[in-house]
Amino acid sequence: MTVSIDGGMTETVHGSRITWAMVDTWVVAKRHLLHLVHRPDELLGTLMIPVMAVAMFGFVFGEAFGVAMDVPGAEYREFLLPGLFALTMAFGIGNTTISVAEDVRGGVLDRMRSLPMSPVAVLAGRALADVILAVVELSILLALGTLFGWQAHLGLGGVIAALGLLVLLRMAFSWVGILLGLLVSGPEAAMKYFALVFPLAMVADTIVPTDLMPGWLALPAEWNPLSSTVIATRELFGNTAGPATTWVGEHALTMAVLWPVAIIAVCLPLAMARLRRLGR
């Protein structure tokens, strides 16, 4: 084993700070994507949730929910699919949290912190990987939805805008997951708290319209960030939703942009502060 010190110590790095932050973010994102290639079962596991949800809620509960909403089952599935797209974005939080907690425990995060790389890229790489993964998940869900008879009625522009909103939501949830991953005591704890995603994913206009919920539940459901995205995407897909009677419903498109931006604006700086504090 021979070791030399000819690694080429170039003092000056080319390009601006922002360019480097983007390059670093991509390198870290690639790491997470390579993980999925090495462990495809994890990706399959993530995809099982929406697939099962389509099957269970669409067909097992679908007819009954349809009756409650006074629409046929097929029309309920039309209502349901945009909800499930957003729900899948929410369930992604679990994987993000666990993966970040594993990196804290395993020391990879420490190694990255000791490198002359962009500090924000250490975390932003995970967010970018999540967004790329979200695009893959959504493509599969769109195909699956089409198979079940769901369709977008307002053309390609609406579909792209709706997908954009869903990806934006996932990016926001990714930063929530990153922050939680830095706060929990370890990956085991992250797994235990996973059930907390359920109220986030379901106390919203995802599976049951908020006006069928009891009043005390309808209010948080209405203000759940998921609801704005779901209502906005239903509008963009041209899927039946009934007239939006609530304030959030009337401003769904605006809120579907504002909510994720606000979440990122809060979680990103908190996560960065937490990352710095890991060393204390």
Partner: protein, 246 residues
């Protein structure tokens, strides 16, 4: 590359954790460039805390710290560009292959893709990991993993290398391999700060040793000086006498 200016220099380094008291209670270190310096002490003595502070991974409350001519508190980026860290607290990615690890970290050390690939090849060759290069690291033996860890820390040819208990948990053969690598590094001019619980390791590798206990320096000198200062035959005896007397 031995100059008058120490590669690592600290004075009165103090750090305490809320509710746990002082982890470091005034550590003074002066490590000449191009030497292997041992930080020896029992668990909880403050060895790892010292290394984490010097590697910019942890903050400190008071005192001064300089690494490779850079102020640790004020110029973290400058320090990070000049150091490597390996051992218990800086890990490699278990899911990726050895080559993917090296290429990723090389990219994060701001090498271009082609440069990173070439450097990965070079280091895989030098650390005898060519055959295992494509396999996921979690399937590596302890020795292979530690060699990869060391290879990652050397990507940018650091001026100062921190090795935090580099041979803990290794079999005797792997331990010898790591020792050989450390010696060669020192011969080529890298300054190494090594923490260890193994007295034999310190005795064999280090030109000077700082003994720490409960966050304080209890003795400092060459292995021979430490042994003779207590009239002991070996470093184990010296260590026990010194830490008991402290």
């Amino acid at each position: 590359m031995i100059t008058d200016e120490p590669a690592i220099w600290t004075q009165g380094l103090r750090k305490s954790y809320p509710g746990r008291g002082a982890a470091l209670d005034g550590i003074d270190l002066a490590v000449p460039a191009g030497t292997v310096h041992g930080l020896l002490g029992p668990n909880g003595a403050g060895k790892t805390t010292t290394v984490r502070i010097l590697a910019t991974l942890a903050s400190f409350d008071s005192g001064q710290a300089w690494v490779a001519g850079r102020n640790v508190a004020r110029d973290r980026a400058g320090v990070r560009a000049r150091i490597g860290i390996a051992g218990q607290y800086a890990a490699v990615d278990g899911v990726l292959s050895g080559r993917q690890n090296l290429e990723m970290f090389a990219r994060l050390y701001r090498m271009r893709a082609r440069e990173a690939r070439a450097r990965a090849d070079e280091l895989l060759e030098r650390f005898d990991l060519v055959e295992a290069a494509g396999r996921p690291v979690r399937g590596y033996s302890g020795g292979m993993r530690r060699r990869l860890d060391l290879a990652v820390s050397l990507i940018r040819s650091p001026r100062v290398l921190f090795l935090d208990e580099p041979t803990t948990g290794l079999d005797p053969r792997s331990r010898l391999e790591v020792w050989d690598a450390v010696r060669e590094l020192a011969d080529s001019g890298t300054t190494v700060l090594l923490t260890t619980q193994y007295l034999e390791e310190a005795d064999r590798l280090c030109s000077r040793i700082t003994m720490v206990d409960r966050g304080r320096v209890v003795a400092e000198g060459t292995p021979a000086e430490l042994k003779s200062s207590v009239g002991g035959r070996d470093l184990d005896e010296a260590f026990l006498l010194i830490t008991e007397g402290a």
